[in-house]
């Protein structure tokens, strides 16, 4: 009913910034109080409805969350259980309704993730921050490869191989 949320800035409402070599930050403002964002983030049945949008191409099969400091979470993605990929870790900070932090333990160089909900005048600024242990770890994660080299090096390698074979 309330259409004020779909104002002029319907596109690019989500901003992403690489704040440093090791840090990626996503921000977006919501027309809702922080406690509802916190609820949607920490209730598995609600979380499952938005964490894996269709454009991701892989559905979220299951979601377990023990939302308290030291509690663990586990997400499984995949077309079916046999091909599922798991993401898991531990909550390191839980401060309703404004802050959550967790580890990403599925990868050796996983990020430490923090999400904050800053409410002001009924609107809430969401800030999602990933800090990686190194620049290389962030690069790898961004390039969407596991332990591989960024794509452009593969291309360069292919080019070098061609030159090497054709050259001297």
């Amino acid at each position: 009913m309330d259409e004020t949320g779909s104002g002029p800035a319907t596109k690019d409402r989500t901003a992403v910034e690489r704040r440093s070599e090791r840090e990626l930050v996503v921000t977006r403002s919501f027309d809702a109080p922080a406690r509802l964002l916190f609820e949607a983030w920490t209730t598995p049945a609600l979380f499952m409805r938005w964490w894996a949008p269709k454009s991701l191409g892989v559905p979220l099969l299951s979601c377990e969350m023990d939302v308290r400091p030291g509690g663990r979470y586990r997400l499984e993605f995949g077309q079916d259980a046999s091909s599922a990929m798991a993401f898991y870790g531990e909550y390191t900070e839980v401060t309703p309704p404004s802050r959550l932090a967790w580890t990403n333990d599925e990868a050796e160089n996983g990020a430490l993730t923090t999400v904050t909900f800053d409410e002001q005048g009924g609107r809430t600024l969401l800030t999602f921050r990933e800090i990686y242990p190194s620049k290389e770890a962030l690069d790898e994660s961004l390039a969407g490869m596991e332990g591989g080299m960024p794509e452009q090096f593969d291309q360069l390698d292919a080019l070098l191989a061609t030159l090497g074979a054709g050259g001297q």
């Binding site: 009913m1 989500t14 996503v26 977006r28 938005w50 949008p53 960024p150 030159l163």
Partner: protein
């Protein structure tokens, strides 16, 4: 400067035709390095390495930045373009994800309003 904004393909091929320059690109792929570090790794004179870097720079494969007396080299514009493309892909994922979150939160808001009225 202006006429070099789009390095011709020829310059790239010329730059890549030399094994030292290919080695330098490989080395910079593992991290930034100063000209003197590169000269040392490739056992050549500073002047020789400067020439190679100049060729790579003109081809847009390497960019350099001088801080104090040290000139640092890194992979050039192409690399930055790749990174911009990765970040845009990541942003699109988050945009779709947060659109979906927005819908869920709107529902919660509407439900709260309704429950408030019913009470």
């Amino acid at each position: 400067m202006v006429q070099r904004s789009t390095p011709p393909l020829d310059a790239s091929f010329a730059a890549l035709s030399d094994s030292t320059r290919r080695g330098v690109l490989e080395r910079l792929g593992r991290g930034d390095a100063s000209i003197s570090q590169l000269a040392e790794s490739f056992q050549m004179t500073l002047t020789g390495m400067k020439k190679h870097i100049g060729v790579l720079e003109q081809a847009g494969l390497v960019s350099t930045r001088k801080v104090g007396r040290v000139r640092t080299c890194r992979l050039g514009l192409r690399r930055l373009k790749e990174e911009a493309a990765w970040i845009e892909r990541y942003r699109q994922l988050w945009d779709a994800r947060l659109d979906a979150l927005d819908e869920v939160v709107d529902e919660l808001k509407a439900k709260e309003k309704k429950d408030g009225r019913d009470r």
